[in-house]
Each structure stands twice: as structure tokens, then as C-alpha cells.
Amino acid sequence: MVTEATEKEYMRPGHMACPGCGEATVIRLVLKVLGEKTIVVILPSCVGVISATYPHSTFAVPCFHSAFEIAAPTASGIANALKIQGREDVTALAFAGDGGTFDIGLQSLSGAADRNDNFIYVCLDNEAYMNTGIQSSSSTPQNTWTMTTPGGRRGRKKKFMQIIAAHRMPYAATASIGHPQDLMEKVRKAKEIKGTKFIHTLCPCPTGWRMPEHLSAVSAQLAVESRLFPLYEIIDGKDYRITHRSKGLPVSEYLKIQGRFRHFTPDDTALLQREVDEDWEQLLGMTKGCRG
């Protein structure tokens, strides 16, 4: 199902994103679907810089620059206030990075999901703390170079969607800039549902991934097609639906265009490939018996 791409924009050009920024694309498309009745919560992060300093704004909708770890309860507060005011036609929307979601914001996101407060939470995952200069987060894949893991990160990337599923959110999904129609459709679906909705987007970062700017969207496509970042939905924490049948390109295709993986040995690549294959099989297993 394809969502009509309207020409109305709710993000204005002239913002401060690096050329090739995947986050900017996600923000733009999410706002495009949600429209003008949206209140946006953003954090100190790349978005905090992208959106420009006082007195400028890249947003054509109301926005609030909250604190690092509280995207979710900020959106919760807004959502509940809107409910009290009888303005439930307005969408509360939060953007948070992987740092603000996987790490410091995990607790408050968990609390908000527990309350099932009515907002959409979009995680802009560029796999490290990029705004402060490329430091590793629990979203950084194993063995990846960052400024704080110069020898490669020891930890493995958190399987965040499993955490999300455990919270029984009415709707959760993964999305990628390389598949914009799929992303927009998911935002549209999220808008129609009441409760806490989570969309995990992979946002390539040419600066932090040490990648040529022009490969930003292609890298997102490769992440999906290599099954490293499959596109799927989880309804009510138990109904898994794959929304795009990744064709299974070798993960090395994705790794080879990024400088942050340049030091990967064949063993590192093989390890990652194995993990990707196992996770894909597990995901397929989760979809068995589910509709759609």
C-alpha cells in the first residue's frame, strides 16, 4: 500500500544537517505524513543542531527542545495535556537518537510505554552519539570503530525491537530512508492508533560512518537488503509482520562502503554475517502463525 506523497512540507530547507544526513530525511518524511497538527519533541542531539538556534526553526509545526533523557515523558505530558484540552486530533511526536533511546532514555521510554501514553516515538538511529563527535552507544554494532572505541566496540548492538515488543506497544516498526514509501506508510498507520507507538529508523550518517555523502540512502538500502536491518512491524508485542522481503545480499556489501568498518577482518565479517542470518531466521520464526 503506497501512501500518497503530497508536496506539502513541514520541515523547511536551510537547516544545519550535514550533507547526506539520514536523520533529516526521516524527520521530513514523518512530518510530511503527520501534517500540521503535530507537536514535536526533540532533544540535544544532531536534531537539536539541525533544527537551528534561536530565532530560527526548521519546523513548520510547534516544537519543544527537551532534555536528553526525557523524549518519552515529555511527549507523554503533552499527550495527556492534549487529552485534557480535548485536542486529541493533535499528534504528540518525539524524535530521539539511539543514545537518547537505547541508553539514557531507555528508562523513561519504558515508563511511557507502560502507561501507553498516546504519542509516536521515532528513534533516529545513527548508531553512535554523533552530535558530540562519534562516541559509541549501545546501538553501535560490535567491532565498529568510534572515537571512544578506536579498537572496535566490544559490546553487541542491543536488539531493541525485542525490548519494545516486551512492552506490548500497540504498534512498533522498523523503517529505513532507503525505503521511504514503507516508512511513510508506517507513520500513517501509527497515527491511526492510540497508545505508545515506536518506529525505529536507521539513519545513515556519512560523517560518523566515514562514508561518502552520496551513499547515504544506498547504505540504508543495503542494510535492509542484507537483512542486517529488516523492515517489519510488531502489533501488540506479539504479531510480527515483515513489510519488505529482504533479498539477502551479503553483509559485506554494506560494510565495504563505510570507513568505520574498514578494519574488519574476514572473521569479523563472518561473525556479523552469522549473526545477521540467525537473527533473520529468528524473525521469520516470529512471523509464523501471524497474519499478514
Binding site: 523547511r12 530547507p13 536551510g14 537547516h15 547526506g20 518524511l29 537551528a52 534561536y54 530512508i177 547515504s216
Partner: protein
């Protein structure tokens, strides 16, 4: 009791309230690189002798615009229903998809468009119509094509056809089971509706003179084809039941059923031979064989037609050549053949077949059909001063359709063009352009170069008609490596299925191959990369993080230079390689 009297104006100075748009920052200055949408040419189009804008047609079809897609084909080719059935599809040989999984069934697509699309017949240009009249001799694919394109350009065209019906080899040389006459008649009908007059039953040189025709028309295009079958030059050839293949097929086309015996030998390896064999099979031949002096790889017939031969129970006697026809009681009883072996290449570039001494053998047959090559019947051109070459073909000036005589042009099989339908159509197109240049005082070399597709030799008549349009870079052919195929799923190719089992097929002359079902056609259409064509997929528009790509109606997309940071994401992601990044750093 005072109520809260605070207004938003009271609040705004207390904390940062930003309303000014970031549009005041002209981030376009960060980089001189900017995208441009430049449509290019697909390798299939370059390979197509007719120069069909295949990728664009697929692009329209992918949106369900079948009529539009057909219109795109008919910008270059008046006979898509024919080509969609019998073309040797060089396009598929160059299809970029073959590097990904399998080439697209482009021929099946052309047939689908012709069968399902509706034609809006383009008539002569009203008002500013040209007054000049052009004559075309021969209504085969070359002649029909020339007439079609000349009529589009506004010329009055009259076709002189010797046989009772137009179509040339298409009508009289390709049997019904491969090309239903209804399809051909329909497409010829469209050409007639454009105002082209076809006079049948007029053989130039007998019923009309070339000189008279030349007087009445400003230019003449001779596209007489090659309908005279070569003789076998064998002992016993004069017997009845030894037939010439072209005549055999022509009789069948005219509805005159020719008797063949139970055992038939067809001599030759081209499509004529194959069609004779398959026709003989349908007429009751139980043991039908094709005798060909080279091996399968050298057979000029299309591979899929050779495969049909075997499916229909016809024996391929390869590396064999006939020596003499054996008779008994005045009737054919067998042929004596000799085994051949392949030697070094001969003048044609193919391995020379050499007889193996002492390997003679006799095959019992009661019918022999010779299909060993065709020559034109073009003697009539000599009176105007045009020469015929060693093979009997009308001589032309190199690289053009013009003959040595001003105003007299030639093309198709009769002038030595490659003996495939598509090449004949291309030849007719070339003739039309040459004549148009001649009559309009244009430099045909320059025109050809300007409208040439890729390396050539095909060119775009549409581009010739609308040079100002400049919508496609005809010279830039999109290589596979430049396409972004990351997201494209693997999918099997859909071939046109047979309509019936071969055992049933040989009982009838009904068309053997069926068109693709709508579902399979749709799947096949989505497999096409549409190389070089902007399909308005919106991917670049949606991807741009700087909201710097706008929709520009018919022109597709345009860049907002004030904001575009030149990252090039759009160019790299474009599945058709339409976007070029230009400018400095």
C-alpha cells in the same frame, strides 16, 4: 477577582520562541554540486534496429498506461504486433537485467502492447501538410515502415504492391501459426487510416513503369524484398514434388492448400526452411526433416523457432547437404545427401561446410522443399540507371538509403539490409528520413548523427520529428554498473507460454504462442529497470534531506539551488541512473 490575563505576547520574551524560518540560510552555497535530471538511453533501445524507446514504454506500462506505452513504440515502429511475435529480439541480448538475473521478455511486452493497447492513429499534419507525393514500391515491412514515417511527416504516400494483399514477407512468408494475418491486417489498416494509399496487384515493371511512377512522385522508395527463391541446382530438381519454399509458403498464405507427401525434406536452415517444415508437418507430413549443411549454431533461424521444430517432431538433419534428387516413376522417392564438416570461415564469416568424402547416404522422401536463400526481383530499376550488385540487390550509396540516381531510394531485403523484420523496418525508416532530408534540403548525415541512438545504427524518427524536445540524451547508454539495483528483488522471467501442446499444435494453423497473462505481464513490467528513464517514482523527491527537490509537473523534478548541499544521495539512489551531479565541489 482578576482572572489570569497573561497572553502569549507576555510569555514570548521569557523563553526562546523561534518562528523565523531556516529558509534564510541559503545552504545551497555549501557546495557547487547540484543534480540534473538527464534521461538517457537504455541498452535495449540501442540494440533495437528500430530504435524503440523501450524503457519509456515500460515506464508508462508500469503505471497502467498501456495506450501511452503503445504510443511510445509507435513513435518508431508501425508494426509492434508483428515484431512482438517474430522479432529476433536483439534488445533482450543487451538487456541490463541479464546481469542481475534474466533479461526481460521485451518481445512479449511489445506483443502485449499491440494486442491490448488502443491506437490513436496519427494522421497527416493538417494545414501545413506537405504537398509532395512519395511512392513506395513494395508493402513489406520496409515499405510499410517508410510509408508510415513519411505519412507522419506529412507526405502523401502511395504504395505499389505486386501481390494481391499488402504485407510482403509478413503476409506471404510467415505462416499463420507464427503471425496471425488478422494482426498484420490490423496494423496495415492503421497505416491506411493515416492516408497512405496501397495499390495492390500492381507489379512495377509489368503493370506500371518506374519512369511513370517517378514522374508522378517527387521521390521513390524501392522496397521490393527478396521473394525469388534460389534454386537447389541439383539433378532431379525439376520434378514435381520438388518445390521452392517461398512459393510453397505463398500458396499457403493465399489459401491454396498444397499437397505434401508423408515424408518431407526441407533443405535450408533459415526461418523460411523452418516455416516450410512446420507447415509441412501441419499439412500431414509425418516424417519431416530439415537438412542443413552447417551445424545448429550457424542456423540463421531464431533459436526458439528451431526449438519449436524439435517440439513438433521434426528431425534436424544437421551437417548434411543434398547431392541429387532420386525419383521413381517420375515422382520423388528420396534424396541423396552427403555429410558435411565445418571448415574455416568463408566469405560470409561463417565456417565453410566441406563435404566428407565417402559419406553419402540416402533418405527416403516423397517431397522436397528448397529454402536455400532468396533474391530480389528488381530488374525494373535498371531502366533508371540503378545497378544491381552481385547478389541481385539494389545498389545504394554507402551508409544511406539513396541510390546513385537522385530521387530514387531503396531499402529492405531488396537492397541488402539484414534479413530480419526489425532490420527491414529500420531500413524503411532510414529511407523515410533520407527522402525527407532530400525533399526538405537537409543534410541527412547530420540528421542521422543527431538522432542516432547510442553507437547506432538505429536512430529515432521521433527525435527527427521533434528535435526541440531534447528530452533524452540519445548518445548516453546506461551501463548496468551505474544502476542502483540494491532494492530490486530477484524474480524469474516470464516467457510467453504455448497456447496448446505441440501434438495439438501441429493439427492446426492457429497461433502457437499465447500472450502473457495480465498478472505475468505486470510482474515482467516491474522487472524492467527502465534504464535511463525517469519513471516519476518520487524516490529522489522523498529522499532529499534538504527538501531541495521539487516536482515540476511534466518536466519531472527540479532542484532548489538555494538549499541543495550537493550531497548526491539522489543521484546514487536513482534506480534508472537519471540524475547527474554537476558543478564543482
Amino acid at each position: 477577582m482578576s482572572r489570569s490575563e497573561i497572553t502569549i505576547q507576555d510569555i514570548e520574551p521569557l523563553i526562546p520562541f523561534s518562528r523565523a524560518s531556516t529558509e534564510s540560510f541559503l545552504t545551497g552555497r555549501w557546495s557547487g554540486r547540484k543534480p540534473a535530471w538527464v534521461e538517457k538511453t537504455s541498452p535495449c533501445r540501442e540494440a533495437c534496429p528500430v530504435g524503440n524507446d523501450i524503457a519509456r514504454a515500460f515506464s508508462y506500462a508500469s503505471k497502467g498506461l498501456i495506450d501511452e506505452a503503445l504510443r511510445v513504440y509507435r513513435e518508431e515502429n508501425p508494426l509492434p504486433g508483428v515484431c512482438g511475435r517474430v522479432c529476433y529480439h536483439p534488445c533482450e541480448g543487451e538487456c541490463n537485467r541479464r546481469h542481475f538475473d534474466e533479461a526481460i521478455n521485451i518481445r512479449g511486452f511489445e506483443r502485449f502492447l499491440a494486442d491490448k493497447g488502443r491506437v490513436a492513429v496519427e494522421g497527416r499534419v493538417p494545414g501545413g501538410a506537405r504537398r509532395e507525393e512519395v511512392a513506395v514500391i513494395g508493402s513489406g515491412p520496409a515499405g510499410l515502415s517508410a510509408a508510415f514515417h513519411l505519412a507522419r511527416r506529412g507526405y502523401g504516400v502511395t504504395i505499389f504492391e505486386a501481390l494481391p494483399e499488402p504485407g510482403g514477407m509478413l503476409m506471404y512468408g510467415i505462416p499463420e501459426y507464427r503471425l496471425p494475418k488478422a494482426v498484420l491486417r490490423r496494423e496495415i489498416g492503421y497505416i491506411r487510416r493515416m492516408g497512405v494509399e496501397i495499390r495492390t496487384g500492381v507489379r512495377v515493371g509489368r503493370d506500371a513503369s518506374l519512369a511513370d511512377i517517378r514522374k508522378a512522385h517527387r521521390a521513390v522508395f524501392a522496397a521490393v524484398g527478396a521473394h525469388a527463391g534460389k534454386r537447389l541446382a541439383l539433378e532431379g530438381e525439376e520434378l514435381s514434388c520438388v518445390m521452392e519454399g517461398i512459393m510453397f509458403l505463398r500458396s499457403m498464405a493465399q489459401g491454396e492448400r498444397t499437397e505434401v507427401g508423408r515424408r518431407v525434406a526441407v533443405i535450408g536452415g533459415g526461418n523460411t526452411a523452418v516455416d516450410c517444415a512446420r507447415t509441412a508437418r501441419r499439412l500431414g507430413g509425418e516424417e519431416v526433416r530439415i537438412v542443413y549443411r552447417r551445424s545448429r549454431a550457424e542456423m540463421p533461424a531464431l533459436a526458439e523457432d528451431v526449438a519449436s521444430v524439435e517440439r513438433e517432431g521434426i528431425f534436424l538433419d544437421l551437417l548434411a547437404a543434398p547431392r541429387r534428387v532420386i525419383s521413381r516413376n517420375g515422382r520423388v522417392s528420396g534424396i541423396e545427401c552427403i555429410r558435411m564438416e565445418l571448415g574455416p570461415p568463408d566469405a560470409s564469416g561463417r565456417p565453410e561446410p566441406l563435404p566428407v568424402r565417402g559419406s553419402e547416404f540416402i533418405v527416403p522422401v516423397d517431397t522436397v522443399i528448397a529454402a536455400v536463400g532468396q533474391t530480389p526481383e528488381a530488374d525494373f530499376v535498371r531502366e533508371s540507371g540503378v545497378r544491381l550488385d552481385g547478389r541481385g540487390m539494389i545498389e545504394r550509396l554507402p551508409g544511406t538509403a539513396a541510390t546513385a540516381i537522385e530521387g530514387l531510394f531503396a531499402g529492405g531485403d531488396g537492397a541488402g539490409a539484414r534479413a530480419f523484420v526489425a532490420d527491414a523496418i529500420a531500413s524503411g525508416k532510414m529511407g523515410a528520413m533520407a527522402i525527407a532530408c532530400f525533399l526538405e534540403g537537409k543534410d541527412w548525415r547530420k540528421e542521422l548523427e543527431s538522432h542516432r541512438i547510442g553507437k547506432g545504427p538505429s536512430f529515432s524518427f521521433h527525435h527527427f520529428m521533434h528535435p526541440g524536445e531534447d528530452r533524452v540524451d540519445l548518445k548516453h547508454v546506461v551501463p548496468y554498473e551505474s544502476l542502483n539495483t540494491t532494492c530490486v528483488p530477484y524474480a524469474d522471467r516470464s516467457d510467453n507460454p504455448p497456447r496448446m501442446r505441440p501434438e495439438r499444435g501441429i493439427e492446426t494453423f492457429k497461433e502457437v504462442s499465447a500472450g502473457l497473462s495480465p498478472g505475468l505481464m505486470e510482474a515482467e513490467i516491474s522487472r524492467c529497470f527502465k534504464c535511463g528513464t525517469c519513471t516519476r517514482c518520487d524516490l529522489c523527491f522523498l529522499l532529499c534531506p534538504d527538501i531541495s527537490i521539487g516536482k515540476a509537473g511534466n518536466r519531472g523534478y527540479e532542484v532548489k539551488v538555494d538549499y541543495c548541499k550537493g550531497c548526491g544521495m539522489c543521484a546514487s539512489a536513482c534506480p534508472g541512473q537519471v540524475i547527474e551531479m554537476g558543478g564543482g565541489r
